[in-house]
């Protein structure tokens, strides 16, 4: 038995081999994020006549393991905007705290104006771009929704590389393949989106969430959904998918147990 204090509580060297302390080493090159670990899947959003609808499911996956099933990926900001996060959950938490401190600093001056979704998106995209330029990326793709300077609906995306774009409907991750075509059918351009009713937008987003649950293996039937208008944010974080129909499933051939 080794009585030296530095060995206390350690696995025995004679049984388990020398302790591998390589990950503790503080010298050598800086270690930066090379891959996401616990991840959230798609975020989808759609503009309508007086606001934006955004949704994301409540799952955080560890690879193929459905690790956390109660994860809120839509984060409110300053009572004016919502950010929907896809990608690494710890980076999401870091960004959430960063935005929180930004909001607190904004409140130091009592000028009364607060940051809108457009300001927030600009800020976030510069954080992402700075971090990718330092080769230390924040592994997310986010959708920022709210209102712009003219109080018009605002929806834009930013990702780990600092790439930004805006459109009447957006979807991250798997949603870019599955949900975006459905949403584009409802709102092919800004003109059409600006005439959509809240109900139409809500229905399209809920339908897309359902399709995503059918086909995305890293998804969940519990989700969060928010409607952002000039009146404020209506965020629901504990929704269940409704009216699922798996009738299509027995038509599927080609993998799993039904090879042909």
């Amino acid at each position: 038995m080794n009585h030296l204090p530095q060995a206390w509580g350690r696995p025995r060297d004679d049984v388990y081999g020398a302790y591998d302390s390589s990950y503790l080493q503080s010298h050598g090159p800086n270690q930066h994020t090379q891959q996401p670990i616990v991840t959230g899947t798609s975020v989808i959003a759609l503009k309508f006549q007086d606001g934006v609808v955004i949704a994301a499911d409540n799952l955080a996956s560890y690879g193929s393991l459905a690790r956390f099933t109660d994860v809120k990926r839509l984060r409110k900001f300053a009572g004016t905007s919502v950010v929907g996060f896809g990608g690494d959950v710890s980076d999401m938490q870091y960004l959430d705290r960063l935005l929180n401190s930004l909001d607190i600093e904004e409140a130091y001056s009592s000028s009364g104006h607060s940051l809108n979704a457009k300001n927030l998106h600009t800020y976030l995209s510069k954080v992402f771009y700075k971090r990718r330029s330092d080769f230390n990326p924040l592994w997310n793709q986010v959708l920022v929704v709210g209102l712009d300077d003219d109080k018009k609906p605002f929806l834009a995306s930013a990702d780990l590389l600092g790439t930004t774009f805006s459109a009447p409907s957006l979807a991250t991750g798997f949603g870019a393949h599955l949900a975006q075509p459905l949403l584009r059918k409802v709102a092919p351009d800004e003109e059409t989106a600006s005439k959509l009713s809240k109900e139409q937008a809500l229905a399209a987003v809920k339908e897309s969430m359902k399709v995503l649950f059918y086909r995305d293996a890293r998804s969940l039937d519990k989700y969060s959904i928010a409607i952002i208008t000039a009146d404020g944010i209506d965020l629901k974080e504990d929704e269940k998918l409704e009216n699922q129909s798996w009738a299509f499933a027995d038509q599927i051939r080609g993998y799993g147990t039904q090879v042909n």
């Binding site: 956390f68 994860v71 990926r73 938490q93 959430d96 705290r97 929180n100 401190s101 130091y108 009592s110």
Partner: protein, 298 residues
């Protein structure tokens, strides 16, 4: 003053033979010349108010705020040297944000007062610095709900280990006053600056310890007390500045905000009316200087 000519008052951090630090006492003098600041701890929130002395007609009314936000749920006001007050606020904001960085939760009013008390006390220890020429009043509302940590993504278990405890009480109002020596106490009602004696007398009448005064009434009382205390500073014009922090169900939802214009004006109207009502009483009050203050000047 006994300090004059002895030399014990010429440098900071040096005791006089009878155990006093004169530099700190001189700092207190700076405070006593400043516009009156008060804070009231109500049952459902905290009010901060200051008598902002107008030093020039060229200053824009309503500009140059004297009450500052330290964190979402906390504000501070001070009497004395305004730049020292600004630095106090700057340090308090740094403390609040570093607390959040470490603990992922807002700093409590008590903890902030402790940090700032320690900070001010350090300025009594070295010959290279001077004490703060302010007494600050810090007011805050610590959330009455069990707060999620900043950035928390889930709700955690609803029962059992790590779960919610039914009926447990959290948070509430906090009010602290921090003096140039670094001394800080928690108060039901706090007052500092030129009109502090009058203000303290008025605060005592409110029976704040009973915890019955509502925030709404607190705002009116605060305005009235600033107006009454202004009698000690009558030759100068002033502006009333007020902020408040309510509980989560109240008007500010736990945030430190300016008292809205309509409510402030209504409180000022009532204050002026109350003052007209007992104008004669105030005259007598001004003369009887309390004993406590005299002792200090010996």
């Amino acid at each position: 003053m006994t300090s004059i000519g002895t030399g014990y008052d010429l440098t900071n951090s040096v005791f006089s033979p009878d155990g006093r630090n004169f530099q700190v006492e001189y700092a207190v003098k700076a405070v006593e010349n400043g516009g009156t600041s008060i804070g009231i701890r109500c049952k459902d929130g905290v009010v901060l108010a200051v008598e902002k002395v107008i030093s020039s007609k060229l200053l824009k009314p309503g500009a140059n705020k004297r009450i500052a936000t330290i964190d979402r749920h906390m504000g501070a006001v001070s009497s004395g040297l305004v730049p020292d007050g600004r630095h106090f606020v700057s340090r308090a904001r740094d403390e609040a944000s570093s607390w959040r960085k470490v603990y992922k939760t807002p700093i409590t009013t008590a903890d902030l007062a402790s940090r700032m008390g320690g900070y001010l006390q350090a300025y009594t220890l070295y010959s290279s610095v001077r004490p703060f020429g302010i007494t600050a009043i810090v007011g805050g509302w610590d959330s009455e709900l069990e707060l999620p940590v900043d950035g928390q993504v889930g709700s955690g278990p609803s029962i059992g280990a790590g779960g919610k405890v039914e009926g447990k009480k959290y948070g509430g109002p906090g009010l602290y006053m921090i003096e140039p020596s670094g001394l800080y106490w928690g108060y039901y009602g706090a007052a500092t600056g030129k009109g502090r004696q009058t203000a303290k007398a008025e605060l005592e009448k409110l029976d704040l310890a009973a915890g019955k005064l509502s925030l709404e009434d607190g705002v009116k009382e605060a305005a009235r007390i600033i107006y009454v205390a202004h009698a000690d500073n009558k030759d100068k014009e002033f502006e009333l500045e007020m902020t408040w922090i309510s509980n989560l169900d109240g008007p500010t939802k736990g945030r430190h905000e300016e008292v809205p214009k309509e409510i402030l004006e209504e409180a000022e109207r009532l204050a002026k009316k109350a003052l007209e009502g007992d104008d004669d009483e105030e005259e007598t009050k001004e003369d009887d200087k309390p004993a406590e203050e005299d002792k200090m000047e010996e």
